[in-house]
Symmetry: C2
Subunit: 346 residues, 2 copies
DNA sequence: CTGAAAGCGCTTACAG
DNA sequence: CTGAAAGCGCTTACAG
C-alpha cells in the first residue's frame, strides 16, 4: 500500500475565481459579515464546501496580528499530576477556541530555555509554565521579553508574572490535623527538599498544625529525600534511627508516601496498622495502594482549567491586576474509608 | 501588582534598518547563509540579540509553504496510557524541531471531528490520531482531504492511512501462556467489547494459546464488560455462575484486571492466591496493586516515539510505503515477582 | 453590496 | 556580497 497523493492547498483566491468574485468578498463570507448579499453568500459557501477549503488561521493571524494558540510547558506528561493538569488546560483552551502548543522540560531548566524559545517562535498568545526546578527568573525574562503574557503554575518564581499556586500550607495542615485527630503525637514530615517552595510551604503547614496542638517536632522527624517512590523507600530507615521514633508521617507527596509504605513493609511494619501515613496530590495509585492512602486532593485537572481561564482573562484584558494576588487554591483531604489506625497516643 | 507593559514585535525590518541593510540580508544571516560577509553577519547578530528579536516561524512557514507542527489527537490525557504515549510523541517531535499541537477527543467521534477541524486550520504538517470509538473513516476522510498525512494509532480504521498498532494477539497469547505455565487449565477472558478491534485481537491470541495447549474455552468464560475498573468489579460474578468455573482470567486490560481483583475480594477470594489474573498495558497502578499485577507491557512512551518517527518519515518522503504494512509492535510480559499461584491444574 | 490596494513578517530567485 | 521585487494566504479600510 502506498501513500495517497497529496494535493495542494485550496485558497480564497481559488474560491473567488470559481465564484467570479474577489478574495475580499469571500473573506467577508468566511468571517460572517452581514454586508454580503445572501445569494452571493450561499454561492460562496457551496463552493467552499465543494473544494474542501481549509481556513489558514496562520495567515489570518499574521495579517490581523493575533494568535490563537497558548503554549503549555510542563515537566513531563508521565507524571499523572501534570498529565491531569494538561488535560484541564487543554479542555478549557479548546473551549475558548485556542489550540495548545505542548512542550516538556523534563525538569531541566536548560531544556526549559530551549523549548520555550522554540515555542515562542510559534507566536503563542500566552504561556502557561510549570517551572523546572532551579529555574532562573532572570534568564526566563530575557528570553520572554515583555511581549507574551505568562502564567506560572505550582512553583513561585517571583517576578511580575501571573501565578497560580496550591495552598500547600493549608493542605499539609489538613493532613497533620487528620493524624492528630487519630491520636498521633509523634508525627514526622517525610520527603521533599527544603529548597523547593512547595516543600517549604508544606512543612510550614505541618509545623503550624503541631504548634496549634502544643507540639513541636523532634529534628530527626524531618527527613529529606527526593520526591520519588524509590528514594522514599530507601530513606525509610532514617525515621527510626533515634528515639523517640514517630508513629506517623505527613509525606511530601503521594509518590513519597507509596515509597514509605513499601519501605515500612520491608521493615516488617504495616502502613495503616503500625504506622500512619498521609500523602499529597491524590494520584490514581493512591486509591489502589494497599492500604488505600489518605491524601490531600489537589484536583490537578481543575487547576488546569483554572490556569487556562486565568491566562485567557489576561489576554482579554492585559491590564487586570496580576493573578499573583489571587487567593491560592483550596484543597481537601480525601480520607480513605479503609484507613483506620489503632489509637497510638504516646 | 499589575501586568507588565506589552511591547510590539521586533521584525527583520527593524534589525535591517538599525544595521543599514535590507531585510533580505538579515534573513540570510538568520538562515545561516554562507554568502553573508563575516563582519556584516556579526553586526546583524549583535543587533538581533540587542533588540531581543524573535523569529516568526509562522510567517516564514507561510512564505516557504512549510509547516513545523504536528497535531496529536488523543482520547484524554487523564488516561496514563495516552499520557505516556503523548509524552513519547512530544519528545520525539521536539527532538526533530517540530512542535506538538494537542487535541483531546474525550472518546467522542463528534468532538473528534470538531477538534480535528480546528487543528487543521493551524496547518499541521502531519497528524497522529488515536481514534475515538465509533470513528467513521469516511467522515474523517472528507474532513482531511488528501493534503495532510495522518498516522492512526492503536485502533485500525482501514483506509490508506499509516497505522501503528499493538500486537494484541501476541500480547494476549503471552499472558495466556503464562497462566498455562502456572498450571491453569480453566482460563477466562474477561472484559472489553468484542466489537473493538483490540479486544477482538486479544481474544484471538487467548484462544490460539489455549488451542495450542489442546484446550478450548467454555462459553461462560468469555465475559464482556466495559473496560473500566468499576464495570469489571460489577461483572466479576459472571465468571462463577456456571460450572466449571475458571481458576484464572486473562483480562482485557489493567483497569479491568484491577476491577476484577476488587470484585474477587468482595466475594472473599484473593487474587494471586485463589484466582490468577493478568492485565494488559502495564499502567503505573499495576505495580502497586495488591498483589502487584502480572501484565503485558506495552511501553506506551516508546510507542509514542515510534509514532512520531513514522509520521516524520512520511513527511520526509511521502512516497514510502504505508506503515500499515509495518510489523506490529512486539510486547513482553512483565511478571510480578510476588505473583505466585498455587498449582491449580484441574 | 463588491473590488482594488496595501500590508502582516518572512523568503527567494534575480540583478548588480 | 547586498538589494529590489514578488509573493505565501489572509484582512481591512477605502472607493465606488
Amino acid at each position: 500500500m502506498t501513500a495517497p497523493a497529496l494535493r495542494g492547498r485550496v485558497t480564497l483566491e481559488d474560491i473567488a475565481h470559481a465564484c467570479d468574485l474577489s478574495r475580499a468578498t469571500v473573506s467577508l463570507v468566511l468571517r460572517g459579515s452581514p454586508l454580503v448579499n445572501a445569494e452571493t453568500r450561499a454561492r460562496v459557501e457551496a463552493e467552499l464546501k465543494r473544494q474542501g477549503y481549509v481556513y489558514h488561521r496562520g495567515a489570518a493571524n499574521l495579517r490581523r496580528r493575533e494568535s490563537s494558540t497558548v503554549a503549555l510547558l510542563i515537566n513531563d506528561l508521565s507524571n499523572p499530576f501534570f498529565a491531569e493538569f494538561a488535560a484541564g488546560v487543554d479542555e478549557a483552551l479548546a473551549a475558548a477556541g485556542y489550540v495548545t502548543l505542548l512542550g516538556s522540560t523534563g525538569e531541566s531548566s536548560e531544556r526549559q530555555q530551549t523549548v520555550l524559545a522554540s515555542l515562542l517562535e510559534h507566536d503563542p498568545a500566552g504561556i502557561i509554565l510549570s517551572p523546572a526546578e532551579g529555574t532562573d527568573p532572570a534568564r526566563l525574562r530575557t528570553l520572554l521579553g515583555m511581549r507574551t503574557p505568562m502564567l506560572v503554575f505550582n512553583r513561585a518564581l517571583g517576578g511580575d508574572w501571573d501565578y497560580l499556586g496550591l495552598d500547600n500550607t493549608h493542605g499539609a495542615r489538613l493532613a497533620t490535623e487528620h493524624l492528630l485527630a487519630q491520636g498521633h503525637r509523634r508525627i514526622a514530615f517525610f520527603g521533599g527538599h527544603e529548597a523547593s517552595s512547595s516543600c517549604h510551604e508544606r512543612r510550614a503547614g505541618y509545623r503550624a498544625a503541631l504548634a496549634d496542638a502544643g507540639l513541636s517536632p523532634e529534628p530527626q522527624w524531618i527527613v529529606e529525600c527526593s520526591p520519588t517512590r524509590l528514594e522514599a523507600a530507601r530513606q525509610t530507615g532514617a525515621l527510626f534511627v533515634r528515639d523517640p521514633a514517630p508513629t506517623a508521617a505527613v509525606c511530601y507527596n503521594d509518590a513519597v508516601a507509596l515509597g514509605l509504605i513499601a519501605g515500612l513493609s520491608t521493615r516488617g511494619r504495616r502502613a495503616g496498622h503500625d504506622f500512619a501515613v498521609t500523602g499529597f496530590d491524590d494520584i490514581p495509585e493512591a486509591a489502589v495502594s494497599a492500604p488505600p492512602l489518605t491524601t490531600v486532593a489537589v484536583d490537578p485537572r481543575a487547576r488546569g482549567r483554572q490556569a487556562a481561564s486565568l491566562i485567557l482573562q489576561r489576554l482579554r484584558d492585559p491590564a487586570t491586576p496580576s493573578a499573583a494576588t489571587i487567593a491560592p487554591v483550596s484543597l481537601h483531604l480525601r480520607a480513605s474509608s479503609q484507613f483506620t489506625l489503632p489509637g497510638d497516643a504516646a
